[in-house]
């Protein structure tokens, strides 16, 4: 039986884990052992001092080191618990599931009550990007080509005053 020990720094409930610098230990199983929660004695080696994770090739599973007991001099009893996520990582990721929440697959239109909205508001504003289009709706035929005349603002008072004066003088003369 080969047991490879690792130092795992990933979250317990995460997978697939990044495992490196494995330490291989070879031995023979001498007594019964639970496959999902094995308890294995090691002589002359205490893996719990340097490692927290293992892979047992005979069981084809990954394990957390959950406990360590010093039985006697140079004999240590190590408790393991199967890491089901890591063991079946590839197969789990092939499944389809109804997902409630996800970091990278999301529906932005569903209200998220976990995001706090603050009391202070911001106001955004925009103007129309087309000034206007003018159309004419006419109930009858139209007369095209209507010219127009624009009076300079400063001119108009002079115009009106002059008009009044001219009219006044013409009325007097008549």
């Amino acid at each position: 039986m080969n047991i490879t020990f690792y130092k795992n720094t990933d979250e317990v409930a995460s997978f697939p884990k990044n495992l490196s610098d494995g330490h291989l230990v070879t031995g023979a199983l001498r007594s019964e052992c639970d496959v999902l929660n094995p308890i294995i004695e090691f002589s002359g080696f205490n893996p719990a001092l340097d490692y927290n994770y293992a892979y047992i090739d005979k069981f084809r599973r990954y394990y957390f080191i959950t406990g360590s007991n010093a039985v006697r001099e140079d004999v240590t009893e190590i408790s393991f618990h199967v890491d089901v996520l890591q063991t079946y990582a590839d197969k789990i990721l092939q499944h389809e599931a109804f997902v409630n929440r996800s970091t990278n697959v999301y529906n932005p239109w569903i209200i998220d009550d976990k995001i706090p909205l603050y009391q202070n508001f911001e106001v955004k504003s925009i103007k129309s990007n087309h000034y206007h289009n003018i159309e004419f709706v006419k109930s009858k035929g139209f007369t095209p080509g209507t010219p127009f005349y624009e009076f300079n603002l400063e001119s108009l008072p002079i115009i009106l005053n002059t008009a009044a004066a001219i009219k006044s003088s013409s009325v007097k003369s008549s």
């Binding site: 499944h95 409630n100 929440r101 004419f136 009858k140 008072p157």
Partner: protein, 462 residues
């Protein structure tokens, strides 16, 4: 130089925006400018007078001015954003005599503008209406600037309101604006009634048969004109009665902040210049000028400097009651009072006493008074907090997903596991997945995917 032959009966004349008051002063002058055997009141031939929230004149690149073809059966004067429409009872000669007799060669800086072709639609079924339609387009692309494209855009979280010139602020719903919308002012030139519609089109390129109108109002806003005396033509009666009725409606019109300001400018100018000085402020013959004692607020007849400028009535939106009080004082002290001016003052007082003026956004200024503006008032989200929360607890998915595209935090709602493992292992896997796990994959391996409103999944490219 203008001469009489250049004026046609159905011409349109445009003057500067502040000349409107001058034009009206000329109409109210008691100096025999009119043929009084026919018209004993200058307002007789005014069919309607109103202010547009848009201009009909635009400039070409070379600076020349153009105006769309305007088919009209009534001669009218367009003063920038405003129109005075006169009834067809006024002949060309009378119309010309009012303003231009003897002025050939006296007029400087007069520009003759060229008409340009614009869409013209003939509508069956309308017997006597001619309308100018102006559209303001809020395209989808520009509207996206105020959206977050997530649930915070919903109207339950973000408030949307639209500032419509001469209407005020109206609440709008997110679903009616998210794909763009069009605001259409339609001015019935004949009857002086303007309506505003807000609608969205199912197609971005303009009006289609699938347009859906979801807001409409009538704007019976005009420059007040007297209803006493004069020749009461059918058309005039109809229009004037509408304007009178509009006075009741106009209690809401005080929410027309730019319109109010615009109207009040012309009204104030007209009132102060006509009432206090007997004419305009530029020494029309026969006028009398008075001086205002600013401390006491009393008129003093000293024939000294002009008083109009000293009163300095700012276009403040909320202080309307003070303005009308001043004008009431002026009326009492002036020797030149006519029914037209009194009607203006009465109308103005009525409005100021009963209407409600919205608080105006501090960003609104005169430039925006004739431009629709869309506002979005939304709660703040601290983006850094949001991003860290997403990494630790994800975002709502609520959909069936293949786990091969997921990364980061994952919480499963339901899963049917098909694994060759023991019962205890399957149970533990389900419990872990439903409690929340982390998939250690990089963003490059597993990019973000977004579900749209209809549940369609699409990857977001970097």
């Amino acid at each position: 130089m203008l001469n009489q032959s250049e004026f046609a009966t159905l011409n349109t004349y445009m003057v500067g925006i502040d000349c409107l008051a001058q034009i009206r002063n000329s109409l109210w002058r008691q100096d025999g400018l009119f043929d009084e055997s026919k018209y004993n009141n200058p307002s007789t031939f005014i069919l309607s007078a109103y202010i547009l929230p848009f201009s009909l004149v635009s400039k070409k690149a070379d600076g020349s001015k153009v105006m769309p073809n305007y088919m009209s059966e009534v001669p009218c004067v367009i003063a920038a954003d405003r129109i005075l429409a006169f009834s067809s009872a006024l002949t060309f000669n009378e119309w010309f005599n009012i303003f231009f007799t003897g002025l050939e060669g006296m007029i400087s800086n007069v520009f003759k503008g060229e008409p340009v072709n614009t869409p013209i639609y003939e509508v069956n079924g309308y017997s006597d209406s001619n309308s100018i339609v102006a559209k303001y387009v809020f395209s989808k692309s520009i509207i996206n600037g105020i959206f977050e494209n997530d649930y915070t855009d919903y109207s339950t979280i973000t408030s949307y309101y639209l500032f419509l010139p001469y209407i005020g602020y109206v609440d709008v719903d997110y679903f009616n604006i998210r794909n763009g919308f069009i605001i259409e002012y339609s001015l019935d030139v004949t009857h002086g009634i303007m309506s505003c519609s807000m609608y969205r089109s199912e197609y971005e390129n303009g009006l289609t048969s699938e347009e859906k109108r979801f807001y409409s109002t009538s704007i019976n806003i005009g420059i007040p004109i007297t209803i006493t005396g004069g020749d009461l033509s059918i058309d005039r009666n109809r229009t004037l009665s509408r304007l009178s009725a509009a006075a009741n409606f106009a209690s809401g019109a005080l929410s027309l902040i730019p319109g109010l300001g615009a109207i009040s400018n012309s009204v104030r100018t007209t009132q102060t210049s006509t009432v206090r000085s007997g004419g305009n402020e530029l020494n029309v013959s026969g006028s009398r000028e008075t001086k205002l004692n600013k401390k006491t607020g009393r008129q003093v007849t000293t024939n000294t400097s002009k008083t109009t400028s000293e009163t300095t009535i700012e276009p403040t939106y909320t202080d309307t009651s003070r303005k009308s009080t001043q004008q009431t004082v002026y009326r009492n002290k002036s020797a030149v009072i006519n029914t037209g001016v009194n009607a203006i003052i009465d109308y103005w007082n009525f409005q100021s006493g009963t209407g409600h003026v919205y608080d105006i956004d501090s960003n609104t200024n005169w430039d925006s008074s004739t431009t629709p503006i869309l506002y979005a008032r939304k709660p703040k989200v601290i983006e850094s907090t949001k991003q860290s929360l997403i990494e630790y607890q994800g975002r709502p998915t609520n959909s069936t997903v293949n786990l091969s595209v997921c990364r980061g935090y994952l919480q499963v709602g339901a899963i049917h596991l098909n694994l060759d493992c023991t019962f205890d292992e399957i149970t533990e896997i389900e419990e872990l997945l439903m409690g929340g796990v982390v998939i250690n994959k990089s963003k490059s391996e597993r990019p973000d995917h977004v579900l749209d409103m209809y549940g369609n999944l699409s990857a977001i490219s970097e």
